[in-house]
Each structure stands twice: as structure tokens, then as C-alpha cells.
């Protein structure tokens, strides 16, 4: 077996337990182009894998690459907005977005879309990546308290967007959802 093949195999072995989380993280960061971002990030990770000395850091290293790739993709998307899409492309895009998800996932992605990039990354690293606050702080070279307060703010914002999304949803609401709506209206009327 060649050295390169050995490296690829080793990389894939380390990737396997984190693949689902990585894919979900990409989807949360960019629901429209998550697959492209994931593939591009994994390719970069594979090329840079020989430089990773401590394999115990694989997960945080991989998520760092994905985060950077999503940011690059977002910036590159700036130029694409000047290109006109043809109708076929729009249809494919629409199908890709509409067909992938359940109502709950749609609501969550819609709510996440309202968050600034850094907040979205932080909450996804915490909830999907399963990173501890210490790890996220190291990720952004910030203090733990800064990450904690950002997470708390993000959760509050996300809740509001989720509730707003549920109100607009055409899906029949559960008793609990309706109960919460009444609670929201009640608290608003008191303010």
C-alpha cells in the first residue's frame, strides 16, 4: 500500500465518527450549499492531514477547516450574486432546499439564517459539534465568559425566530405551540 493511500485510510477512519456531525454543521451554516462546502472542506482537510501531528485534536481541527471553508464560500458568493441564474438553476436550487428537510428542520434552518455568522457558528459548534465552551473559546481565541454570553444571547434570539417561524408556519400547531403563542402575546401585552 502506498503512503498516500495509508494517509487517506487513516483520515477516513478518524473522519467516520464525526461525519454526521460535520455534515449537519455544514447544513446549519449554509443550507443551500452545505454539500459543496463539506466536500471542499474534507478535500482540504485530507490534503492538510499529514501536517496534523496530534490526532486527538482531529475533530476541532476538522470543524475549524469547515468553518473557514463556509466563510470563504460566503465571501465567494458575493461575486455570484452578480451572475444571473437561469430558471433551470433556480428550480434545482429550490428543489434542493425544499426537498431536504422536515418542517422542524426547515424552521430551525430558517431561524438560524437570521443569526449573524459568528453567532450561528458558535451555537452550531455547541449544539451540533458537541464542543465544550472551553473548546469553543480556544477555537475563537476568546475568553470562556465571552463565549458563554454569546451563546446565551444566541439562544434567546434563536427562540424568538423559532417562535416567529412557527406562527408563520402552515403546519397545524400542537397544543403546546398554541399555548406558547398565547404566553408570548400575554407577555407582550404586559410590556
Amino acid at each position: 500500500m502506498k503512503a498516500e493511500e495509508k494517509i487517506t485510510e487513516q483520515f477516513l477512519q478518524l473522519l467516520k465518527p464525526h461525519y454526521q456531525a460535520a455534515a449537519s454543521y455544514c447544513r446549519g451554516l449554509n443550507p443551500d450549499h452545505h454539500d459543496d462546502i463539506l466536500q471542499e472542506a474534507l478535500l482540504k482537510a485530507l490534503r492538510g492531514f499529514p501536517s496534523l501531528r496530534d490526532h486527538s485534536q482531529f475533530k476541532s481541527w476538522l470543524f475549524r477547516i469547515i468553518t473557514r471553508e463556509a466563510a470563504t464560500f460566503h465571501r465567494r458568493y458575493f461575486w455570484r450574486r452578480f451572475l444571473e441564474w437561469d430558471s433551470a438553476q433556480w428550480e434545482r436550487h429550490h428543489d434542493a432546499v425544499a426537498g431536504l428537510q422536515t418542517e422542524e428542520l426547515y424552521q430551525l434552518l430558517h431561524a438560524l439564517d437570521h443569526l449573524p455568522r459568528k453567532k450561528r457558528e458558535t451555537i452550531l459548534l455547541f449544539e451540533i459539534g458537541g464542543f465544550a465552551i472551553t473548546e469553543i473559546a480556544a477555537f475563537y481565541l476568546e475568553s470562556e465568559s465571552a463565549v458563554k454570553s454569546r451563546l446565551a444571547r444566541t439562544k434567546r434570539e434563536l427562540k424568538q425566530w423559532l417562535i416567529a417561524g412557527l406562527r408563520e408556519s402552515t403546519k397545524p400547531r400542537t397544543m403546546l405551540e398554541m399555548y406558547d403563542e398565547v404566553a408570548t402575546d400575554f407577555s407582550r401585552s404586559r410590556n
Binding site: Y19, R27, R75, W79, L105, L108, K159
Partner: protein, 274 residues
């Protein structure tokens, strides 16, 4: 229950964790599929040809992924282009030399009618040959580089008695910056000559040029040439002046609407004798 704990604050009422749907979302490609594609891509990457173009593509990719940096780089390039001095050569007209036998009048008329205002000067030399025949040499100068000199020379060649037609471009060296070199921007000076005598026009041109920091020797003459008014301006500008672009003078005569078509003359910039 979770919903009871959050009441009466607005909160997520679902009993489930809202992120659970995202955690459980099936990836577009299975791990096996992705692993296979990664292995293939890695193999292809190792055997890819390394080209010079590939090295050039890197900075382009960097700029494309950073719009702010691209805008900053473009602004820097533009500022640089405005400040880097350069010399450039441009064709400002053509000279056409025609050798013919007999009376040159027909040829001159033909060229005048075709070239119109682009014809800035005509010099005719008539030689009397020993056998009594006449041979003329004509030198036409066209002040516009846009004139279709090839079509004109073909038409002149077809005239009776024409023996030789040669066309040469008149090139001029300009000094400016990269941007003016690219755009070949001209410096336009507009002067109203309504009700002015020749001497006053001369003075007006001189003063207008001076107001722009251009120290110039100006001579202006107006003459009737076969019923058509002919205006000639000669201006020599010190090459060390602040304005480096080619100067174009426009004269406007409000009393003469037909002739009020703006007269444009490029002023040839010449270095003054030390």
C-alpha cells in the same frame, strides 16, 4: 415539563430539542460515497500537472474569495495608474503624398470633399518638365486619426494622372500617466470668439491657456479660401507645464451659427529651445 418551566416567558415550546432535527438530518452523501470520492480526488490531486497558470490562479482565487480585498487592490491600482508617469505614442493624423501628372486641382478638390474638416493642410509643388508637361507633388495633412485613409488613398489612386500615393501616420509622443495613456485623455479649452478681431482672439487663447498654467505662443489667422473660411491656430506650449495631457482648443462663434460648429484643433506640444 420544559414548556411549563419557560412559562410565562416566550420560549421554544417544543418538548424536543430544536437541534435534534439537524443532528438527525441525513447527509446528502453517505460516508462510503464521500470516502470513495475523497480517495479518488486525492489520487487525482497527486497526479495533477503543475503549471504556471495554476500558480497564477492562486492570487485570483484569493481575490475572488475576498471582495473587500479585491476592491482595495483595484483602488490601489487605479491610484497607481494615476501617479505613474509614462510616455506614450499616439497617431494624431496622417500625411498623404500624391504624385500626379497634369493639373492637381481635381485631386485637391476630391480629397477636400472626402476628408472635410479632417484635412488640415495642403502643400502643392508643380514642376515644369523639359517636354512642357507639368508634374505635381501634393502633401495632404489630416489632423484626425479616425479618418479612413485607406479608402481615401484608393479613391485618389483611381483618379486620372495619379502616379503614386503614399500614406504615413503622424505619431506624436505624449507625456502623462498610465491612465491618460490608456484613455488618451485630452485637455479641452473652450474659448468664445464672438465679435473678436484676430488679435483679440489670439490674446483670448493666450490668456485662457495661461489661466490653466499653460505658457504658450499663439498665432491665429482667418482667411477666405475659395469661399470657405479657413482658421489656423498655431500654439507652442512649454513642455514643462503642469498640464501633461494633449491640449484641444475649441472656438465658438455665436454670430456664425453655421460655422459655430465647434472648431477643434489639437495643439502640438513642443519642447522650447533652451
Amino acid at each position: 415539563m420544559k414548556s411549563q418551566q419557560t412559562f410565562p416567558d416566550p420560549g421554544i415550546s417544543r418538548e424536543d430539542d430544536p437541534f435534534e432535527s439537524l443532528r438527525q438530518a441525513k447527509p446528502s452523501r453517505s460516508f462510503q460515497e464521500m470516502a470513495h470520492q475523497l480517495a479518488a480526488a486525492s489520487e487525482a490531486h497527486q497526479h495533477r500537472p503543475r503549471t504556471q497558470l495554476g500558480n497564477l490562479a492562486m492570487p485570483v482565487r484569493v481575490l475572488l474569495s475576498r471582495p473587500a480585498l479585491a476592491a482595495y487592490a483595484a483602488a490601489l491600482l487605479l491610484i497607481g495608474a494615476c501617479n505613474v508617469p509614462t510616455e506614450y505614442s499616439k497617431t494624431i493624423g496622417y500625411s498623404m503624398r500624391v504624385s500626379a501628372e497634369g493639373n492637381p486641382q481635381t485631386i485637391v478638390e476630391k480629397v477636400k470633399s472626402q476628408a472635410g474638416e479632417a484635412l488640415s493642410n495642403v502643400e502643392v509643388t508643380i514642376d515644369q518638365l523639359s517636354d512642357g508637361a507639368e508634374r505635381s507633388e501634393m502633401l495632404f495633412t489630416f489632423s484626425e486619426s479616425t479618418i479612413d485613409h485607406q479608402a481615401l488613398s484608393r479613391q485618389v489612386k483611381a483618379l486620372e494622372g495619379v502616379q503614386l500615393v503614399t500614406v504615413e501616420p503622424i505619431d506624436h509622443e505624449f507625456r502623462g500617466n498610465l491612465l491618460t495613456g490608456l484613455l488618451h485623455k485630452t485637455f479641452d479649452v473652450e474659448i468664445n470668439i464672438t465679435d473678436l478681431t484676430e488679435a483679440q482672439v489670439e490674446q483670448a487663447i493666450r490668456e485662457e491657456l495661461e489661466s490653466w498654467g499653460l505658457d504658450a505662443d499663439v498665432t491665429y489667422s482667418r482667411s477666405e479660401d475659395e469661399g470657405k473660411e479657413r482658421i489656423e491656430i498655431k500654439a507652442t506650449i512649454d513642455d514643462t507645464t503642469a498640464v501633461k495631457e494633449p491640449v484641444r482648443i475649441k472656438l465658438v462663434d455665436e454670430n456664425n451659427p453655421e460655422d459655430a460648429q465647434v472648431k477643434k484643433r489639437k495643439v502640438v506640444r513642443k519642447k522650447l529651445q533652451q
